[in-house]
């Protein structure tokens, strides 16, 4: 087993990996950018080294600096977390070159899965079901029109190197195809330096369901159950659960077997996730493979009783999987809420800044993986994931009510968070009925961003307003920090909400 591991990441996932290492008796090495000196992962590690300025390109993405720290500190392995360098085959190769174990798959597997068309070709050989379409880039508009005619409209154009919605176009008719293809290709070229675009049948209202797999370096591969990840906004997952409300044991086994086939076809090792699109008839199609630990791995941990990070480390150190497929059983239900620093009242703008008050939930059925603390200044330079709140219950209903209770206890002041969004989702009738697809969240938000208050009856709101007013007065009297006439500011915030556009918010987080 390794004696020391470097964690090439920050935030909640760095803390999560540090905890696993401490549990396994492994010393930890943190790296941090200039704005992360006081971050939780630095506080919790055994060693910590600065690697550069705030922008990730100068620090968390700098392979040379990270490998230099590994050398200096004597770390024998590197855990990349998710995002940053986690799916960078070059980094995995660079680790191998200097004799540091990369905790993840081989560079070869990562490269194969890095290109969507290459992965499709490989999976086609292995007999994996995927959405009808071409497995190669379109050479001409004519080729595209022909393929679209064969598979039937609507079709989706996708960048081979893509992700995060870039280089993607939904095309409904033959007339639209040519211009859509041109713009997809140029966007793909701009975004990824690769204009390759292929075509797929567009699945109407698909679900996004993924299967966790784990493979050791001795040829054993197992699946650990699916995660329902259909609740997304701007191609960004917001809430995930396991099991999926629509997957029964037979479908789970079939998906699991396909996922294992995918992993084996790629000679995959360590933890990985096979993503599927699922149509309304519950047909599932291979979408892509994520060659790293996912943000949402805790829901699988809670329903299987396993610790995926422990297992990642054991696999990387050469151990065999300590259990067989037949030992894996799914019990209960788990739901994860991604607590983001963003403002639900203002079109989910990012909201970095200082956390002035933090009340955190705990108790039965609640797991909290967090990278924040009261007094911490959330930097503006990274993605806005602050923490994950995961509820577990005997069944889905109990997981929901436990999360509702925990969200009620969760309070963050100083910055905005999306906590109220989860309260909306969890009490929504469609969500409770499990009627989900990737358009679900946009539809919910389109209903109007009602504050939670607006659902309460009017007299109750008035009563609570009275309480709020009395409380304001008592705070002023009892708590010396309270400023009276604080609102004398003539400027005020801009009264017209601006529109935010996403610009490649970390695909890593999907």
């Amino acid at each position: 087993m390794f004696k020391k591991i470097l964690i090439a990441n920050r935030g909640e996932i760095a803390v999560r990996v540090i905890r696993a290492c401490r549990e396994m008796g492994i010393a930890t090495v943190a790296v941090y950018s200039d704005v992360d000196r006081a971050a939780l992962h630095v506080r919790k590690s055994d060693e910590a080294y600065p690697i550069g300025p705030a922008p990730a390109a100068g620090s968390y993405l700098r392979m040379d600096k990270i490998l230099d720290v590994a050398k200096r500190s004597g770390a024998e392995a590197i855990h990349p977390g998710y995002g940053f360098l986690s799916e960078n085959a070059k980094f995995a190769q660079a680790c191998a070159d200097v004799g540091v174990k990369f905790i993840g798959p081989t560079p070869h597997s990562m490269e194969m899965m890095g290109s969507k068309t290459r992965a499709r070709q490989q999976m086609e050989k292995a007999g994996v079901p995927f959405v009808p379409g071409t497995s190669r880039g379109l050479a001409s508009p004519e080729e595209g029109e022909e393929a679209a005619k064969r598979i039937g409209y609507p079709v989706m154009l996708k960048a081979a190197a893509g992700g995060g919605g870039k280089g993607m176009r939904l095309v409904h008719t033959c007339q639209e195809l040519r211009s859509a293809l041109e713009s997809a290709q140029s966007e793909a070229q701009r975004s990824f330096g690769d204009s390759e675009v292929y075509i797929e049948k567009a699945i109407v209202n698909p679900r996004h369901i993924e299967m966790q797999v784990l493979a050791d370096e001795h040829g054993n591969t197992v699946w650990l159950g699916e995660r329902e990840c259909s609740i997304q906004r701007r191609h960004q997952k917001v809430l995930e659960e396991a099991p999926s409300p629509i997957v029964d044991p037979d479908m789970r086994r079939r998906m699991g077997e396909v996922a294992v086939k995918v992993a084996q076809a790629a000679n995959y090792t360590n933890a990985g996730t096979v993503e599927f699109l699922v149509d309304q008839q519950k047909n599932f199609y291979f979408l892509e493979m994520n060659t790293r630990l996912q943000v949402e791995h805790p829901v699988t941990e809670l329903t299987t009783g396993l610790d995926l990070v422990h297992l990642q480390i054991r696999i990387a150190s050469g151990e065999k999987l300590p259990f067989a497929q037949s030992d894996v059983a799914i019990r209960g239900h788990a739901i994860e809420c991604r607590i983001y620093a963003e403002d639900p009242d203002n079109n989910y703008f990012p909201s970095p800044g200082k956390i002035t008050v933090l009340l955190q939930p705990s108790g039965p059925g609640i797991r909290r993986d967090s990278g924040m603390y009261e007094g911490w200044n959330v930097p503006m330079d990274y993605d806005p994931l602050l923490a994950k709140l995961i509820g577990y219950g005997t069944d889905r209903q109990q997981a929901i009510v436990r999360l509702q209770r925990a969200l009620y206890e969760y309070f963050v002041a100083g910055i905005k968070t999306n906590i109220s969004l989860f309260q909306r989702i969890l009490c929504d009738a469609d969500f409770q009925a499990g009627k989900l697809d990737t358009g679900y969240l946009d539809r919910l938000l389109a209903k109007g961003n009602h504050a939670v208050t607006s659902r309460a009856p009017e007299p109750q709101i008035e009563a609570l307003e009275t309480i709020a007013a009395i409380a304001a007065g008592l705070f002023a009297v009892l708590d010396p920090a309270s400023p009276v006439s604080k609102n004398g500011n003539t400027a005020g915030p801009p009264s017209v909400p601006s529109n935010w556009k996403q610009k490649g918010r970390s695909e890593a987080l999907r």
Binding site: P350, V357, D381, L407, I467, I470, A471, A476, D479, K501
Partner: protein, 165 residues
């Protein structure tokens, strides 16, 4: 202690007087007995006629909010003895308007030049934070009198980015 408190858009008068086992209050003239404890900074435990409320206070540079359970209320609080009075920004449609940074971030680019005419809702400047780009828009039709934002510069919430008149 007397306060004028605006909540839900309506002004209220709150009188507080320390009494045995709590506070004798008058809220818009109505007497209420309140038992209040601050278990920790910015958290208040209120008992009103047996009902228990945990209220959290959130203060920003510009706003004061009370969270009663999970429900947030914007509150304005004035001590009538204080000389300061609040200048309403509303109704200010005619004069020059400052465009402020809504969060910390970095200026990515300017979308207009000084002295150009802009429509209401037209983008003025792009600010990036947490891997997202935010187009800050003009609150009114008019002329961009001044641009204070510089591409590449860091901004803090409340910093003036531009002035539209």
């Amino acid at each position: 202690m007397v306060y004028e408190i605006i909540v839900g858009g309506k002004p209220h008068r709150l009188e507080l007087e320390k009494a045995a086992g709590g506070w004798e209050c008058r809220f818009d003239g109505q007497p209420v007995h309140i038992d209040a404890v601050i278990p920790r900074r910015d958290v208040l435990s209120l008992l009103v006629d047996g009902h228990a409320y945990e209220i959290k206070r959130e203060q920003t540079a510009t706003d004061l909010h009370m969270w009663v359970g999970s429900t947030r209320f914007a509150v304005e609080l004035r001590d009538p003895r204080s000389l300061r009075s609040r200048q309403k920004a509303a109704g200010d449609e005619k004069g020059p308007r400052k465009i402020l940074a809504p969060m910390p971030g970095r200026i990515v680019r300017l979308l207009v030049a000084e002295n150009s005419e802009v429509e209401s809702g037209q983008g003025i400047v792009v600010v990036e934070a947490m891997k997202m780009q935010n187009e800050i828009k003009s609150p009114k039709k008019g002329v961009v009198k001044k641009i204070l934002a510089t591409p590449g510069a860091a901004v803090n919430p409340g910093d003036i980015l531009a002035i539209v008149e």
